[in-house]
């Protein structure tokens, strides 16, 4: 037993370990930090001021855009109050529902050169806020028109909720497609093409009796369910459509 104790004692010699002050540790950390990537402060380009920038974006829309929204609203009211080519508003209005959103994209990006982002990125508001604001203006207009038309259903034989759900479903699907397309450089052109394709395809779809009957006879609960499902890819794409996720580019 004694031998074992002696053998164990040999490696455990006493060493002087100098204690390091907190200041020295902090100084070493600061020195090392110079060689590490900077950690961006969370929220430094956050959501503050988003409301202001949405208002700014709204002010930047051309009169033509507001006229289109007003025209769509007037058309919707007319379709609800009077018979329109014997077509049900449940079928016609969802076809027109994505128009404010798509037109907003065209209006917001019309004439915009890609390099302008370089200037926008150095402004007080972040480019993420700016892009989001551009999209939110269209979304807000679309929701406002849809809500107004749903309200106009009061006192008619049409159900406001059903009309709202059908319109929103169309908006979400076409909006998702538009958000996919706006990743490209020729945004106004591709969105214009999508708009044309949507209107033509929708008009043709209304000629198909089965589709027309489906749109008219769909019950409100089913419409709400379809809208909820449709909203998921739209809002996912809206979040993903952030310039934060774009790769950095080399200078020239």
């Amino acid at each position: 037993m004694r031998i074992v104790k002696e053998n164990k004692a040999i490696p455990f010699q006493e060493f002087e370990v100098p204690s390091v002050s907190d200041q020295k540790i902090e100084a070493a950390c600061d020195r090392i930090a110079e060689y590490l990537p900077a950690r961006r402060r969370a929220g430094s380009r956050g959501t503050d001021g988003l409301f202001r920038i949405v208002l700014l974006e709204a002010r930047c829309r051309t009169p033509l855009y507001w006229m289109l929204c007003a025209l769509l609203l007037a058309f919707g009211v007319y379709a609800l109050r009077f018979s329109l080519w014997n077509l049900s508003p449940y079928a016609v209005l969802p076809l027109l529902a994505p128009l404010p959103f798509l037109s907003n994209l065209i209006d917001a990006f019309w004439g915009r050169e890609r390099q302008v982002a370089e200037i926008e990125k150095t402004c007080k508001f972040s480019i993420r806020q700016l892009y989001l604001a551009k999209l939110l203006v269209g979304l807000a207009c679309d929701l406002a028109v849809t809500a107004a038309l749903s309200l106009f259903c009061v006192g008619t034989s049409y159900e406001g909720w059903k009309l709202a759900f059908s319109s929103l479903t169309a908006l979400f699907w076409v909006g998702t497609a538009a958000l996919f397309l706006t990743g490209g450089r020729s945004c106004p052109l591709s969105v214009s093409a999508l708009l044309a394709v949507w209107v033509i395809a929708g008009t043709l779809a209304l000629q198909v009796p089965e589709f027309y009957r489906f749109a008219v006879d769909l019950n409100t609960a089913a419409a709400a369910g379809i809208t909820t499902v449709s909203a998921v890819p739209f809002f996912l794409k809206l979040c993903a459509r952030s310039p934060k996720n774009q790769p950095e580019q080399e200078g020239t």
């Binding site: 930090a33 110079e34 060689y35 590490l36 990537p37 900077a38 950690r39 961006r40 402060r41 430094s44 380009r45 001021g49 920038i53 700014l56 930047c60 019309w110 004439g111 915009r112 050169e113 890609r114 390099q115 302008v116 982002a117 370089e118 200037i119 926008e120 990125k121 150095t122 402004c123 007080k124 508001f125 972040s126 700016l130 950095e248 080399e250 200078g251 020239t252």
Partner: protein, 289 residues
């Protein structure tokens, strides 16, 4: 106010655009010189917080600019190399839009826009669409937008590219006038632009800081290395092969060469007063030509 770059590095994949760059900027005009691909634009884009350094720190008065965020951008004016605009906007509307993005109150912005457009000689075309503007006019719009928020740090990437000589002189005067209590950093290929207005010149090559000094000290560093000779064409070809030639001019008795060389190139070579172009040639050699 002090802007400090400590060991700033930016890598794109395996390639280093900027490598271990350290410098301090206090108020004054700084000229950034370097051949194409030296990393000037990447450095500037990091300084305006568009790019994040792969490593290293950029601090304003000791605080990292990525932490300062909007507070830093409030102090910042940036003119990129390529000016992008909304072509269907008028000059006034575009500047009003950027003023709003910079958080400038609308009433204040109107007056600033008018005075800045007047400063760059574009007041008369304030309500014309940007789509019809020439390259030079767009660059002037670029300068105006950089000055909208009365920035304390002004970073200009190739601001004089595409400007005619008159516009360049006007630009130089503007920068000199506004440089008072700001940090102004401008990169250019036109060495004479920097020579007249920059207090300090930064030489950059292959992403690295080569030298940062006053114009006078840089000129002094090549004193006794600049020569002029007039020789027949065949001899001129030989000298061009052997030395860095900063200028060639036709003369009745042959070609007059301006040579930058530590050694006297010919027996009858006359020493000349160096210019910043000679400095550029001395440090960057054939890359500069």
């Amino acid at each position: 106010m002090k802007l400090t770059l400590s060991h700033v590095t930016k890598a794109f994949g395996q390639k280093y655009a900027v490598e271990d760059f350290s410098a301090e900027f206090e108020r004054g005009v700084y000229g950034l010189l370097g051949p194409n691909g030296a990393g000037k634009t990447t450095l500037m884009r990091m300084m305006v917080d568009i790019l994040t350094p792969s490593s290293g720190r950029i601090r304003l008065d000791g605080v990292d600019i990525s932490e300062l965020g909007a507070a830093y951008r409030d102090k910042l004016g940036y003119m990129p190399q390529e000016i992008g605009v909304y072509r269907n906007f008028t000059a006034r509307r575009f500047l009003k839009y950027l003023s709003a993005l910079k958080g400038i109150p609308s009433g204040e912005a109107d007056g600033t826009i008018v005075s800045l457009l007047e400063l760059v000689g574009l007041k008369d075309v304030a309500d014309k669409k940007l789509g019809g503007f020439s390259g030079g006019m767009l660059r002037r719009i670029g300068i105006v937008q950089a000055l909208l928020n009365d920035p304390k740090i002004l970073i200009l990437d190739e601001p004089t590219a595409g400007l005619d000589p008159q516009e360049r002189i006007r630009f130089r005067n503007i920068v000199s006038e506004i440089s008072g209590d700001r940090i102004v950093l401008l990169s250019t290929h036109i060495v004479t632009d920097v020579e007249f207005i920059a207090g300090k010149v930064i030489l950059m090559r292959e992403g690295r800081l080569l030298r940062m000094d006053t114009t006078e000290d840089l000129l002094r560093s090549v004193e006794g290395m600049v020569w002029s000779v007039t020789v027949p064409r065949r001899e001129a070809d030989r000298l061009k092969e052997k030395y860095d030639v900063s200028n060639i001019a036709q003369r009745a008795d042959g070609l007059a060469l301006r040579i930058v060389s530590a050694e006297k190139p010919l027996g009858d070579a006359r020493p000349e007063q160096p210019t910043l172009e000679d400095v550029f040639l001395h440090y960057f050699g054939r890359e500069a030509v």
